[in-house]
């Protein structure tokens, strides 16, 4: 027998599975046996290795760069500096403020300056030290406050006013009136520290140029399409000459959703040398590439009326953006626009300013832009409710916004299973029996949240589909799905197999997914904004649905029944009236191919304008940012234990319920919830991008930047709520980002239940917690006197 401990091939779970089945991931075996190919696993004959020279200064002008000594080093094949591809780029078309390599201005410690391709990494590394760069060091602006105070020092020339990337100010209803009329009020400042994705796979790219002038770039990216576009622009090469392929991806979380220097550099070096070129980031370089959670300072007011209803929310937000815009324009909007559910706001105002600073650029980390204000708001809501002696779950229930309703800022909410989420975590955690009664140092806290299922519109305005899928049926019974969507571990390729199985009756194991290859697959905008299940799923359903019709028509002819009397299920196609009249899936494919007289292939697409009422979002400038075809909802309850003498604390349990509309694969949805909870707990407890006074990252390693081990992670109880969205494929909405948000305020609120302290600054380090406990004791002593 094999080397097992009693576990054998377990047959039932390998049965064909359509939508809703817990089938194993389609790439599970390849990932399990080590045969799956990630970008760094690629190797080509004569391949060169590239390394990047980075700025040692937080802010400087480049007077000159001399690469001659590096070029003279044996083994060095080519060097590259910014003037060879000076075009500016950026993932958002309105904020092209990056260069592949700096031409004259470096903006943070780690900014890319030059690149070397050599026969191996050691030689390339040695060559970097031979490049002479003459810098004129400039004053560095390391906080957004400093950046605002010194508009005369420009971190990034693209800022129109001072160092401001984007300023948004929106108001809905009479906020000031509601604030003054309110019965209970919470008004405090909250600090959210920056943190980063820290996917275990470091960024890597490989490029090869063939003799015909075609360029292929393999990259660990979650946005092959945008990389394709930007490569074309920066290299000045027709997009038809460029092919971008995303191999297996070792985690992303938003950290691989910008075009990066390494992609441009390997491409240019491959063109320059005629040899394949690979560039793999060191872990330290991953920290410099960053694009992680923005630090935010939030001045938040929440006001409740006498019934505990949310009368007003006012939030003034200062966002530390780092050196480049990345998705920052969107961040500024998201920090305000995504707060307006699952509760009804009587009035709402936010004023958000994203500022450039001389630090690694921030960007979209899981729950982009909305995790920070969600934390502040949910803590403030708890605090205001406490003034009315309202149970924290009750205040959330009472303010539930409902289904098929518009938010105060004009976002259309369709399905909404938030109440069920609350109910589930309330009972799973034993809230009624335990909250407020767990004794000193132990507590429960609750929080809710809402997140988008994709942005309504693409980042560059156009009428083309946001997702496209091509499905081909073969007379062998094999199904091939061509999809531009990026499987970043979340399992979209598996969902595509399940959708094919659901529609066509094929075994999901008989489906080949050809994914994220710009030469072969229809465009999909990428794995960001939690758009994939909703949009790619819709496109796949449409393509498979067309083929389903063709199968039915052909089967009707052969089985001698009406097409609407043909049933498709799990590998067979049959007459509903007479089950003895049936055929295999393969037979049905052959019938259909014969009937059509051409190969069986269909496409499907997704455009927001084609669903529901078409146009989404409020009728004001910026009203479409944050507009989504559907919103997911989450409730969390966290349990904490606090050592009041030291401030050390741990989160022992999180119960999380998430409304994903419909779980196309419940195992994968649970995995997204569990991973989100873990990441939220990590932000609350451990993680912080911290810099020295000269702007250096204090610990760009997985030793010093502590991500939780198995021993630091709470037990997670994930529950799925299926509200069935009218527009989502089979009712599905997102599950990958929403379930992160509530973990952080739930923990903050649990710390209040445990020791009566309000933590308003992330991460909740034991030093901060101890200081708050001391202050509490001080206040109690004062009150006793």
């Amino acid at each position: 027998m094999s080397n097992t401990n009693g576990y054998r091939w377990h047959d039932p779970i390998h049965a064909p599975g359509g939508v809703g089945a817990r089938i194993p991931k389609s790439d599970g075996a390849a990932k399990a046996d080590g045969s799956g190919i990630f970008t760094d696993d690629l190797s080509f004959p004569r391949m060169l290795h590239a390394k990047l020279l980075r700025s040692p200064h937080a802010h400087a002008r480049i007077r000159s760069i001399d690469t001659s000594k590096a070029e003279a080093l044996p083994g060095v094949i080519a060097t590259l500096i910014g003037s060879e591809m000076p075009a500016r780029y950026g993932v958002i078309p309105w904020t092209h403020d990056e260069q592949a390599l700096a031409t004259d201005h470096v903006r943070f410690v780690g900014d890319e300056v030059a690149c070397v391709a050599a026969v191996d990494e050691r030689t390339a590394e040695a060559a970097l030290r031979l490049i002479e760069v003459d810098y004129e060091v400039l004053p560095a602006l390391l906080s957004p406050q400093d950046a605002l105070a010194h508009p005369e020092i420009k971190v990034n020339e693209r800022a129109k006013v001072g160092n401001i990337t984007k300023h948004v100010s929106l108001s809905f209803g009479d906020v000031d009136g509601a604030l003054s009329a309110a019965t209970a009020r919470s008004h405090h400042t909250y600090e959210y520290a920056g943190n980063t994705h820290a996917a275990i796979e470091p960024h890597c790219a490989v490029a090869r140029a063939d003799a015909d002038g075609n360029l292929t770039v393999w990259s660990s990216t979650q946005i092959p399409h945008y990389v394709h576009r930007e490569l074309s622009r920066v290299l000045g090469l027709a997009p038809a000459r460029i092919r971008v392929i995303q191999p297996l991806l070792g985690g992303a979380f938003g950290g691989k959703s910008d075009p990066f220097s390494l992609e441009f550099c390997v491409a240019k070096l491959a063109l320059k040398t005629g040899r394949p070129v690979k560039l793999l980031f060191t872990r330290e370089e991953v920290f410099y590439s960053h694009r992680g959670r923005h630090p935010m300072t939030m001045d938040v007011q929440v006001a409740l009326d006498a019934d505990g209803r949310i009368a007003a929310v006012d939030n003034k937000i200062l966002i530390d953006g780092g050196a480049y815009a990345s998705f920052g324009l969107v961040t500024a909007y998201y920090s305000g626009q995504l707060l307006t559910g699952p509760y009804r706001f009587g009035s709402y105002r936010f004023d958000s300013t994203r500022v450039y600073t001389n630090k690694p650029p921030c960007g979209p980390k899981r729950g982009h832009g909305s995790v920070q204000p969600r934390f502040a708001f949910e803590v403030a809501l708890d605090e205001a409710a406490a003034q009315l002696e309202l149970d924290p779950i009750e205040v959330r229930r009472r303010n539930f916004i409902g289904e098929n309703v518009d938010t105060v800022n004009g976002q259309r909410i369709t399905s909404n299973g938030f109440l069920k989420c609350l109910e589930l975590v309330e009972s799973a955690s034993g809230w009624k029996e335990r909250h407020g009664r767990m004794g000193r140092g132990r507590g429960l806290g609750v929080a809710g949240s809402m997140y988008i299922s994709g942005t309504a519109y693409p980042v560059y305005p156009n009428e083309m589909p946001q997702s496209g899928v091509l499905v081909k049926l073969d007379r062998s019974g094999r199904v091939a799905i061509f999809s531009g969507a990026s499987d970043i571990g979340q399992g979209v390729n598996t969902l595509l197999c399940q959708i094919a199985s659901e529609e066509l009756g094929c075994d999901p194991r008989d489906v080949t997914v050809v994914a994220s290859d710009t030469d072969l697959t229809p465009v999909d905008l990428g794995a960001y904004s939690s758009r994939v299940t909703f949009m790619t799923g819709t496109a796949a359903r449409e393509a498979c649905g067309k083929l389903r019709t063709q199968l039915k028509l052909a089967a009707a002819d052969k089985l001698g029944c009406a097409a609407d009397q043909v049933e498709i299920e799990l590998g067979t196609i049959r007459s509903a009236a007479d089950a003895a009249k049936n055929a295999s899936f393969m037979q049905a494919c052959q019938w259909a191919e014969a009937r059509e007289g051409r190969p069986l292939a269909e496409t499907g697409g997704y455009r927001t304008k084609d669903i529901g009422e078409g146009k989404l979002g409020g009728e004001y400038r910026g009203g479409t940012i944050g507009a989504s075809p559907a919103y997911s909802f989450t409730a969390h309850i966290a349990e904490v234990e606090v050592d009041e003498e030291t401030g050390l604390w741990r989160c022992t349990n999180v119960w999380a319920a998430h409304d994903c509309g419909k779980a196309l694969n419940p195992t994968l949805v649970e995995g997204q919830i569990e991973g989100s909870v873990y990441m939220g707990v990590a932000e609350a407890q451990l993680e912080e991008m911290s810099y020295t006074a000269s702007g250096q990252h204090r610990g760009p390693s997985l030793l010093d930047y502590r991500i939780p081990t198995s021993l630091d992670t709470p037990l997670i109880g994930a529950s799925i709520v299926e509200s069935g969205d009218p527009n989502g494929p089979y009712g599905a909405k997102e599950a990958g980002e929403g379930p992160l948000h509530a973990a952080i305020p739930a923990i903050a609120n649990a710390l209040f239940d445990a020791c009566g302290i309000r933590v308003r600054e992330l991460p909740f380090t034991p030093a901060k917690v101890l200081a708050l406990i001391r202050a509490r004791d001080e206040a109690q002593r004062g009150a006793a006197c």
Partner: protein
């Protein structure tokens, strides 16, 4: 901050020497010789020298566990004396020098599956959804295999402790615990449980599915 008068950083650079050495490695039951640079790590020898790219590089300095392989002394007596389990103990190939690994019998992720197909731990990881991006998993599965080789029925705290040197960024570890318990034959994968579907809202309230953690 005061910048110290450090040495200019290019003074001590010369063309890196590329002294090659032939190392003999014992991997997955086979003895293979491979030419590597004298300072190559075991990870480089595996990935670049032998094409065994299933072993991953996450941090390259011993912090993350992605490069974990199993090792035991090649000398059987020494193996017994050190109490090594059948495939040995998890070590980090990114901070082991290839030259210094010549006395070890090594198992990489490629060596875990046999003629019977995937090892139970691999099967269970795939079946339980313990694999998301799959990048930390080769190392994670080898740590789990070493645990089960020495402790066939581990408790949850023992699983947590044994895997605490393998950082995973996707799963929150939850389904990994489940997979280890499934591989150990201590429970069935949650796949085996039917998906409980309740009517959609508008009919009778949201559909719900609740999942508990085995402890």
């Amino acid at each position: 901050m005061n910048r110290g008068a450090g040495r200019p950083n290019h003074q001590r650079v010369s063309a890196p020497s590329q002294t090659q050495v032939l190392v003999t490695l014992h991997i997955n039951g086979e003895t293979q010789s491979v030419a590597v640079s004298s300072q190559a790590t075991l990870l480089e020898a595996l990935r670049d020298g032998l094409g065994l790219t299933g072993t991953k590089q996450g941090c390259d300095k011993g912090d993350c566990g992605a490069c974990t392989v199993l090792a035991r002394p090649l000398d059987e007596n020494a193996a017994r004396a050190s109490g090594s389990s059948s495939r040995g103990e998890p070590i980090l190939s990114c901070i082991t020098l290839a030259q210094d690994a010549q006395g070890l019998a090594l198992t990489t992720i490629e060596g875990l599956a046999g003629a019977q197909g995937l090892d139970s731990i691999q099967r269970a990881f795939a079946d339980c959804g313990a694999l998301q991006c799959g990048f930390c998993q080769p190392g994670m599965m080898l740590s789990a295999r070493a645990l089960l080789d020495s402790n066939p029925q581990p408790s949850l705290p023992q699983i947590q402790a044994a895997l605490s040197g393998n950082l995973c960024r996707c799963t929150g570890y939850t389904k990994i615990y489940e997979a280890v318990q499934v591989a150990a034959g201590m429970r069935m994968p949650s796949h085996a449980r039917p998906v409980r579907s309740e009517p959609a809202p508008g009919v009778d309230g949201p559909r719900v599915e609740v999942k508990e953690i085995a402890t």
